[in-house]
Amino acid sequence: MLVAVVLGFIFALLVPFFSRFTKRAISLVYPLIPLFLFLYFLGFLEKIKSEGQILFHYNWVPSLGIDLSFRLDGLSLLFALMITGIGTLVFAYTANYLKGHQYLDRFYGYLSMFMASMLGVVLSDNLMSMFIFWELTSISSYFLIGFNNDDPASRKSALTALSITGFGGLVMLSGIILLQVVGGSYSFTELLNSSEIIKNSNSYGWIIALMFVGAFTKSAQFPFHFWLPGAMKAPTPVSTYLHSATMVKAGIYLLARFTPLLGDTIWWNSTLVTVGAITMVYAAIHSVFRVDLKGILAYSTISALGILVFLIGIGTEKSLLAAGIFILAHALYKAALFLITGIIDHETGSRDVSKLAGLQKVMMPVAIAGFLAALSSAGLPFLLGFISKEVMYEATLQLGNWALILTALAVLTKILLLVAGFWAGIKPFTGNLPSEFNKAHMPSPLLWVPPLLLGFLSLGFGMFPFFIQESLIQPVFSSISGSDTTIELKLWHGFNLVLLLSVLTLVSGGLLYFFLKPSKALIEKTFKFEVISPQNIIENGSNLFGSFARFWTRFFQNGYLRNYVITILAFLTLLMAYRLFGEVNIYIDWEQISTVSYYEAIVVLMMIISIIFAISTNSRTTAIVALGVVGFANCLFFIFYSAPDLAMTQFSIDTLTVLLFMLVLVKLPKNKSFSSKGMKFRDAFLSLTFGVLIAILTLEVFEEPSSSEVSKYFADNAYLLAKGRNVVNVILVDYRGFDTMIETVVLVIAAAGVFSLMKLDLNPSKKDL
């Protein structure tokens, strides 16, 4: 199983290395991989039917509780089959669609990476590894959407898609971790046992909210849906694969998967129903206002995803069953429609549905596929779409108080989707071929066989539901609902309300199709609502965020050193003051303070005056000489208080510093006075506060009794063990010789630095220009 998941990755990794040799054979080799996987998963059908689920376990990061456990049950098997099955078709389709493309190999690389990630998502039992694969789908879709990377719009869409799904992913990550914190495990199987604990915990609301963000962004639910139409910039096989059949369903998968664990609470259900309902209606309306085939399909996909969320949200057995069937039905017909769109685009160079017509004359098989897909989408009897629609209406009708309105919404959505489906699958193939498409001709079988196959599958499953009832849908249902009710898929339910609604849907949809013609004018009408569209709101929001970012960055990183210093020291001052006055008992113990002799007072006075002088003078040289006096007075303290070594060193170094200053100053320009009075006052205030705080703090630390253990040891052993009388020097070269050793390095580096600073100038000089 691990191999099955990882195969795609291995393949993706190998692509760049082997593409040179396999360029020719590429299109033949690649589709074999998903095909192989498809067959592999198909082999599990029987086992799942009998055992319900199979677990595989591979260790990875045991200390985090993260492993590569795979869980194959009805739901994941359905998805695995869809991923590999549709994958096979898409791979084959691509071989021709992008034939001779310079980067075909890369494309396959991304595609197989995506497939593997997707398999990982649906198969992982461990939530964290599921999340890892989840993110990988985002990344690989980023690369796929941006495949035509010369095109700025393509790049922008890729970025948008990644931003939204990435954002959702991160939020979901928090949710997953929170789930682990509450439930104690990342293993889905283990978590199932503590379902009740989780639902009753305080964090439950947070958990589902965070998970929802992840699922909604991925599955393009309102208001995060807008990345999906943008993602249609990708080559058609990508749209087919990612944006109809698989990736966008990852969110649905997630919700379905979590239903037994987190579902069946008021929050869960009401949120999902609300969001699902809004999305399905909103997107369905949008879909009939488009003329671009891909746009129509994108919005109808969003709407379909809304339906799925809606169904999962209802949460009854019927609705979950409906969801299970609809996942499959939608995948089949929507993939077909996308592939067909690709063919049309490929052959005619246009996706404008208002212009397209009459293509049945040149590409009959494609037309058949289109018809089948559109009819399945519409839910015509004998197609899989019909069954799903019936079950769905049944589900909504069972809802008591809410039944009426929810059913109405569902019917409305279905009607609009019918129109959208017809536009995509039927309209281009009816009527007369416009002259501008005369050059269109029959595409290669690699292109038309996949959609046709999908169309026939819709038909086949629709006519003979027992094919899939027990082997596939039953296990799917069990794993979503967690119940062991036996289901039955029927074509005929008798004359009842559901049938009436079906008929209503078909009739009004059909009428709408005949009266409403797709046109640019229709779209233009929607423009005035753009202002309040989520996309616009979020884009405005992100612009606002950008302005905020600009403000924040300019505010702090304003280029003025003094502002930096002020910020830092104001922060320090506040911190110190808060702690000092809040926590420290300020006192002075005069016992510890020695008396002042008058000569010390003179030196102190001299020092203070010199400091003020150095600060206030406007002449540089005077400031430097004053600095010299400060250092000199400092040395006097060192002498008075028994530090001859220190006095000597400090004085030599002070003098050298002053000397350096002098040498540097020779050519510096005149000092100017820049600051205003107010600014000086502010600075003086801050400086004094800082100085006072440091002073108080120093005094308080001074008052604390201190241990002299270390210095006593030094003094006692200086002569006996270290053979020196000058303890300071003994410390410098022996006790703490290590310091000194390093310190010499500081000097060396400083000297080297000064040397290079003075001698090396890489600025382009005038003669170079």
Binding site: I609, V625, F632, F651, S652, M662
Partner: protein
């Protein structure tokens, strides 16, 4: 009167007074050479103070500091002179 007291109450006050006078010159300037000579003088007075202090504390080690001070006073004077001349040359 002991040596210590004599120094403490007679000599050091005189030196302290000198320091103040020189320091006033330092503050007044007006030219850089004035300040430099004042600084030089300050250091030289401190050589004296150190000498006195070493007697008071009976620590001859301080005299070495005095030696260094004298050396540095010379260095800084010559450096300032150097600087002044360089600046003029410019």
């Amino acid at each position: 009167m002991s040596l210590y007291d004599y120094f403490n109450w007679i000599i050091i006050p005189i030196l302290g007074l000198s320091v103040i006078l020189v320091f006033i010159r330092f503050l007044k300037g007006p030219s850089l050479p004035d300040r430099v000579i004042a600084l030089d003088m300050l250091i030289l007075i401190s050589v004296c103070i150190i000498a006195i202090y070493s007697i008071q504390t009976n620590q001859s080690t301080f005299l070495d500091v005095a030696m260094l001070f004298a050396l540095i006073a010379f260095l800084s004077t010559s450096a300032y002179a150097f600087y002044l001349e360089q600046r003029q040359r410019k």
